[in-house]
């Protein structure tokens, strides 16, 4: 009976409706607090759960790419593995180095996790499902992201270990370097949408032409911006091939080498939360947020689309991790400052060009011009590398 009464719109808004129903039971004086709690709890549940699922997916996916099974012992097809891991990390001894700065050492993982969670406050997870619709949502997101750097430094410095210090230095340098292109890559969207509010940005992409959506991805600057954003996001969340701060084969675990037990798990949690958050931002900025990819698919609830898109991006991250070797520190910085940053600036120029070039019948010319401007430096770079005989597959001669 209830199922019959529910329209697709109700299903779409079911969490919002439940929240309102629950709020009605609370005395009016407590309603602001209750509202906040009811909004925060789903996020505190959903994303750590996603973290748990991702760890299994990642291990199984990597395993399959490497022609292994991956974890398959705990629960059905190994999907209860995170529970076992969680119990393990909770019951492990918490070793703190004797010379460590205990207070800072203790605070670092907590601050890191808090910072990682804060970013979700402005992300619209579904239609009408955003914690706070801030006027300067994008700015808030990046501001919170900068707190991560500080906590990484706290972790690395307070451990009093050379490896952690090296790892923290690498991490901070990398995060600061890639934050610039990350922001610049999102600036194009802000320019187009004319707002820093993520809700407005999603709404501005919500129309359809025929069955195809108006995502910013389907513009030249959108594609370029998305690629640049994802590269920067990979680096920002310390994922392979930019996982130098952890650099397992070089500096073992980087800034959290001296952590054990649950604190170690917190670092992993924060890292994955950061990855989800930046991916979510990418979805919001370029992939239409919670909007359905084709107009006739709108009957599926918006939050389902959001998480599906997120899963696709996560799988892409896993795929990249299974394939590529790691860059070196100087190459990483060079890549950020010499390639990604100029390309992001060029992309802003292209976005302006796109805005002022006439649309309509000359649309294809607009496309060609924009793509040409973006592709030219890449082609020049490839050509000049060839001229300099760099990055070439060499030929070898043989002695009989």
């Amino acid at each position: 009976m209830i199922a019959a009464a529910l329209t697709t719109q109700d299903v779409d808004q079911i969490f919002v409706l439940i929240k309102h129903a629950l709020l009605a039971c609370v005395p009016a004086a407590l309603q602001p607090i209750a509202s906040a709690v009811l909004s925060i709890i789903p996020i505190l549940v959903a994303f750590p759960l996603l973290f748990a699922i991702t760890t299994v997916l990642e291990r199984k996916g990597l395993g399959r790419m490497q022609n292994r099974y991956g974890p398959n012992r705990v629960g059905p097809a190994g999907f209860f593995q995170p529970i076992a891991d969680g119990i393990k990390s909770l019951t492990k001894e918490d070793v703190v180095p004797l010379s460590a700065d205990h207070a800072v050492h203790f605070l670092a993982p907590i601050l890191l996790v808090i910072a990682a969670f804060l970013g979700y406050a402005v992300l619209p997870i579904g239609r009408n499902m955003v914690l706070v619709n801030l006027n300067a949502g994008v700015l808030f997101f990046f501001a919170v992201g900068s707190v991560v750097e500080l906590s990484v430094f706290m972790a690395g410095w307070s451990s009093r270990s050379k490896y952690s210090l090296l790892g923290a230095m690498r991490a901070i340098a990398q995060m600061i370097s890639y934050e610039v292109p990350l922001v610049l890559a999102s600036v194009v969207v802000i320019m187009q949408a004319g707002s820093l509010s993520l809700v407005t940005i999603v709404e501005s992409q919500s129309g359809y032409t025929g069955i195809f959506p108006h995502w910013y991805l389907f513009t030249p600057w959108g594609i370029a911006g998305f690629i640049l954003f994802m590269i920067a996001a990979t680096a920002e969340s310390n994922r392979s091939p930019f996982d130098l701060p952890e650099g397992e084969s070089e500096i073992i675990a980087g800034y959290f080498i001296e952590y054990s037990g649950f604190k170690f798990a917190l670092f992993f949690l924060a890292e994955y939360l950061g990855m989800f958050a930046t991916s979510s931002l990418a979805i919001t900025l370029f992939l239409g947020g919670w909007a359905a990819p084709l107009s006739f698919l709108t009957f599926i609830p918006s939050y389902v689309w959001f998480f599906l898109k997120l899963l696709v991006l996560i799988c892409f991250f896993i795929w990249i991790r299974g394939t590529l070797p790691r860059l070196r520190m100087d190459q990483l910085m060079g890549f950020a400052w010499k390639f990604i940053l100029p390309m992001a600036l060029l992309n802003i120029f292209v976005a302006g060009l796109w805005r002022f070039l006439p649309a309509g019948p000359l649309n294809s010319i607009r496309w060609l011009v924009c793509i040409g401007v973006l592709a030219a430096p890449c082609i020049v770079l490839s050509f000049s590398l060839k001229q300099k005989k760099k990055l070439l597959v060499r030929t070898y001669h043989f002695a009989e």
Binding site: T323, P325, R326, R328, Q331, V393, R394, Y396, F398, E400
Partner: protein, 383 residues
């Protein structure tokens, strides 16, 4: 951060910079030191200013033990030198003893030695490339592919010798057992399928830009330094040194096979990587020929006996082209059942001597990659 003063560094930092140096100890417990190897690295930022290799954590007194054992009893110990390539170690030792005692090897045994030796080269190079990429942070994917292929070769070894890694297969004057029925066919199948792995590997990583960026121009070993430091094996050949003992000494029946020796030009990590890659293709040629031509016949010289083996007084140095380089065994006999002197020339150790020269001025991350490209096995370095 520890401070230290430098006596006479190779690459001296700017004056006043000494205090900023960071000395870190990589190893003996470290994910990418290939065993229990330690490097005391002095860093200026992330740049290596000094590097001191520390080894001996795996020292097992191999040479002294061998001097107190019979000749035959040392054979299983040679398995444990370079524990990835036990069969080539066996071969080197058997060759030295055969030289010492003047034993000949029957034809079928020679073929079996070539087949097992080249299979060993395949698995060593495949694993090395996997490990090298693991050191570069490729999350184990190439390594797992290499291990998948290695498994097939190890199955062959187990069927032939009874053990997967510690084969203990060769004897003075031949080999211990003949091939079981169907072994040669299975070996042919493995060899025929191996190029598929090489193609896969090539597609996966040979043209990868990140790999090239990481390896080209890193850890350059000049031809002159390679010669003056007695570097051998793929490492020397990557520096353009045409020195392959299979060609130079023409030991065993190698002259019967046509194969080419790939030579590098730059001597950097990328060349060392590619030379090994190309060598695998050449090994496959040898294997195809050997598996086609292997004759029937005895597998061990009838004069060779397991008990009471006493070579006449004298000395001998037998060497082979092991996958890692020139593996030599030097023996002095005084006519007793034990060698009077037993000495191994391990390719890993001697190739490792240039590590500091290769690493200076590079990054910590490069140190790991350079060490990986030297291809060491600590069982052999420390003995």
């Amino acid at each position: 951060m520890s401070t230290l003063t430098l006596p006479t560094p190779f690459l001296s930092p700017e004056p006043g910079h000494e205090e900023r140096l960071l000395e870190i100890s990589m190893g003996p417990q470290h994910p990418s030191t290939h065993g229990v190897f330690r490097m005391n690295v002095v860093l200026d930022g992330e740049r290596v200013v000094r590097l001191k290799p520390v080894f001996g954590y795996l020292h097992r007194n191999h040479e002294k033990i061998a001097e107190n054992e019979t000749y035959l009893s040392s054979m299983p110990y040679t398995d444990r030198l370079d524990y990835i390539c036990s069969l080539t170690n066996n071969w080197g030792y058997a060759l030295a003893v055969e030289k010492l005692a003047g034993i000949t090897v029957p034809e079928r045994a020679e073929y079996l030695r070539v087949i097992t030796g080249e299979l060993t080269r395949l698995l060593n190079h495949a694993c090395l490339l996997g490990f090298l990429l693991q050191d570069m942070g490729a999350s184990g994917t190439p390594l797992m592919y290499a291990f998948r292929e290695r498994e097939k070769i190890l199955d062959l070894f187990e069927a032939l010798t009874g053990a997967r890694m510690m084969c203990n297969y060769m004897r003075f004057g031949g080999c211990r057992v003949d091939t079981p029925a169907g072994w040669l066919d299975q070996a042919r199948k493995v060899v025929a399928e191996f190029p598929r792995f090489l193609d896969e590997f090539e597609k996966l990583l040979v043209s990868n830009e990140i790999l090239m960026e990481r390896t080209q121009g890193v850890g350059v070993l000049s031809r002159e330094l390679a010669i003056s430091s007695a570097i051998s094996g793929p490492m020397a050949r990557a520096s353009g040194l045409n020195y392959d003992i299979r060609k130079v000494d023409a030991y065993g029946i190698y002259p019967r096979f046509t194969f080419r020796v790939p030579l590098g030009k730059h001597g950097d990590v990328y060349d060392r990587y590619m030379i090994r890659f190309l060598e695998m293709r050449e090994s496959l040629k040898i294997l195809n020929d050997a598996l086609r031509d292997i004759p029937a016949g005895p597998i061990i010289d009838p004069k060779s006996k397991p008990r009471g083996f006493r070579p006449k007084p004298g000395e001998a140095y037998g060497r082979i082209e092991a996958p890692k380089g020139e593996l030599g065994f030097y023996l002095i006999s005084d006519g007793s059942p034990n060698p009077y002197r037993y000495r191994v020339r391990p390719p890993s150790l001697i190739n490792l001597t240039v590590l500091e020269d290769l690493c200076l001025g590079h990054n910590v991350a490069d140190v790991v990659v350079i060490l990986g490209s030297v291809d060491i096995v600590l069982g052999e370095v420390d003995r």
